[in-house]
């Protein structure tokens, strides 16, 4: 089986791009990645996207993007796994290259949350939940996280600002990420005064939905991989796991078993342990998901994840702002994770640079860990 290298990356700023289309956003990311790698021939294009068919009335995104960006001769389709669609597309690209089936592959994650305004977009975003028995009751993903947060804080006696550490860290890092949506640090006071979205979950416990596109060029060809002149980063492993779709079907709602399974599979494939990781891009769509992920990955005992995040000095988290401060372009977020991690492992993260960063674990989730996809990346030169 072939090695999978990152040969090129590209991304747009994350924000409300009222005047830019899905095609236009994707083109910026895709062309940047291709040019960085010296314009090689691309065999396949895998797209990660969640909302386009409903929010933009546009399916068949692979054709849309390939046509617009002048990609001739590619095969293409969209991978969907709820909000983890970007990671699903990355996994698809990884498998295509690793298997030897394709030599050079583009993975692009793109999302537009602003083609539709009003509560209609909240209904579309709720598509990653169980429509018949969760969304139909008037639930949104934020309400699901609110239910988990309420139970967690009551069960473990967590103080009202107990979950503030991750959002505050995210905002602190976003200050030095030129592509981030919110580039101001926040204080504990700001957190405590924030408006409620779904009690007890406030505006800083929830990542803001936004538009954006990010792309990564994967290749097994060492020559193409070296074209950028940057340090070489390899995708070492890729693994996914699933849990019940509906939160109410879990035996214990506070256990993210798909996180555990996905991480363990990925680590086993890479022949590594979690402690080898310098960077852990934990999925912070909601602050409670970060806490429960940390516990599910065994980094903290149940009920202590929130303390671990506040005290942790071992692993770098949300190094470029995470979903919370970099912004949350849903189906594209999983590709933003790999692009940001590549920047870190190449040593180009500036003020956010994790010193001596060599190994990273990135993890994306559809729903409340209904579908979890993990990748492990390493700098190898």
């Amino acid at each position: 089986m072939d090695k999978v290298y990152i040969a090129g990356i590209g991304q747009t700023a994350v924000g409300e791009h009222w005047n830019r289309s899905l095609a236009n956003l994707s083109a910026q990311a895709v062309l940047a990645a291709i040019h960085e790698a010296g314009d090689p021939q691309v065999d396949a294009l895998y797209v990660g996207n969640l909302l386009a068919a409903s929010a933009s009335q546009q399916a068949n995104l692979g054709s849309l993007i390939a046509s617009n960006a002048g990609l001739i001769g590619v095969e293409t389709f969209t991978a969907e796994a709820g909000e983890a669609s970007g990671a699903a597309a990355l996994r698809m690209g990884y498998l295509a290259v690793r298997s030897g089936y394709a030599r050079t592959v583009l993975v692009v994650g793109v999302e537009k949350t602003t083609d539709m305004v009003g509560s209609g977009i909240d209904s579309v975003i709720a598509e990653s939940t169980d429509y018949d028995f969760e969304a139909m009751q008037g639930l949104t993903p934020a309400a699901l996280a609110g239910l988990l947060m309420a139970r967690y804080m009551r069960q473990y006696d967590v103080p009202p600002d107990g979950l503030s550490a991750l959002p505050m860290l995210a905002h602190a890092h976003a200050v030095y990420n030129p592509n981030a949506m919110y580039r101001r640090a926040i204080s504990i006071d700001t957190y405590n005064k924030a408006a409620m979205v779904s009690d007890p979950l406030n505006m800083f416990d929830a990542a803001p939905y936004a538009d954006g596109a990010a792309a990564v060029l994967l290749t097994s060809d060492a020559e193409i991989a070296h074209m950028s002149g940057k340090a070489l980063v390899e995708v070492r492993a890729s693994a996914g796991a699933v849990d019940t779709l509906a939160l109410h079907d879990r035996p214990d709602a506070l256990i993210f078993s798909a996180v555990t399974a996905s991480t363990q599979k990925a680590l086993a494939l890479a022949g590594m342990v979690l402690q080898d990781m310098d960077i852990y891009e934990v999925w912070d769509a909601f602050s409670i998901y970060g806490v429960l992920s940390v516990e599910a990955n065994g980094l903290a005992a149940r009920g202590n994840g929130w303390r671990w995040i506040a005290d942790n000095k071992d692993m770098a988290l949300v190094t470029m702002g995470g979903n919370k401060a970099r912004g949350f372009p849903l189906g594209a977020a999983g590709v933003y994770q790999v692009v940001e991690t590549a920047i870190q492992l190449r040593g180009e993260a500036g003020e956010n640079q994790v010193e001596g960063a060599c190994n990273a674990l990135i993890q994306a989730m559809g729903g409340p860990a209904s579908n979890v996809i993990t990748h492990i990346l390493s700098r190898i030169e």
């Binding site: 009751q137 008037g138 009551r154 979205v197 009690d199």
Partner: protein, 135 residues
Amino acid sequence: MEIPRHWRLQKQRYSLMGEECPHCSAKIFPPRDVCPECGGEAKEPYRLSGRGSVYSYTTMHSAPSDFEESLPYTIALVKLEEGPTVTAQLTDLGEREVEIGMPVEMVTRRIKEDEGKHGMLVYGYKFRPVMGSVR
């Protein structure tokens, strides 16, 4: 107009019609093809009583379309006495504070209009605090 979809789910929504697994007797809601407890084929209809307690709850301040007019509303995970957990709005709270562990009972209420005042009415389950008695 999602009429066939709402029609298809009437028994579940109006009267909590789930299943009983013929192999391991587990009560299942909502119905599905494979028993989540033992993996056997699950098909026997079984109506759940609607009695349960609040596992968790949250008050929403931002709603999907068709639900905005009822904001703010409280949604909960309700653990039913037969075992399954459901997601549902709480209703008839009045001045009452919701508490985790609070006993609740199922009532059939109007959930929403399917696309405004011309569309069909969608009825379904909500839960209210168990009614007290003057007796």
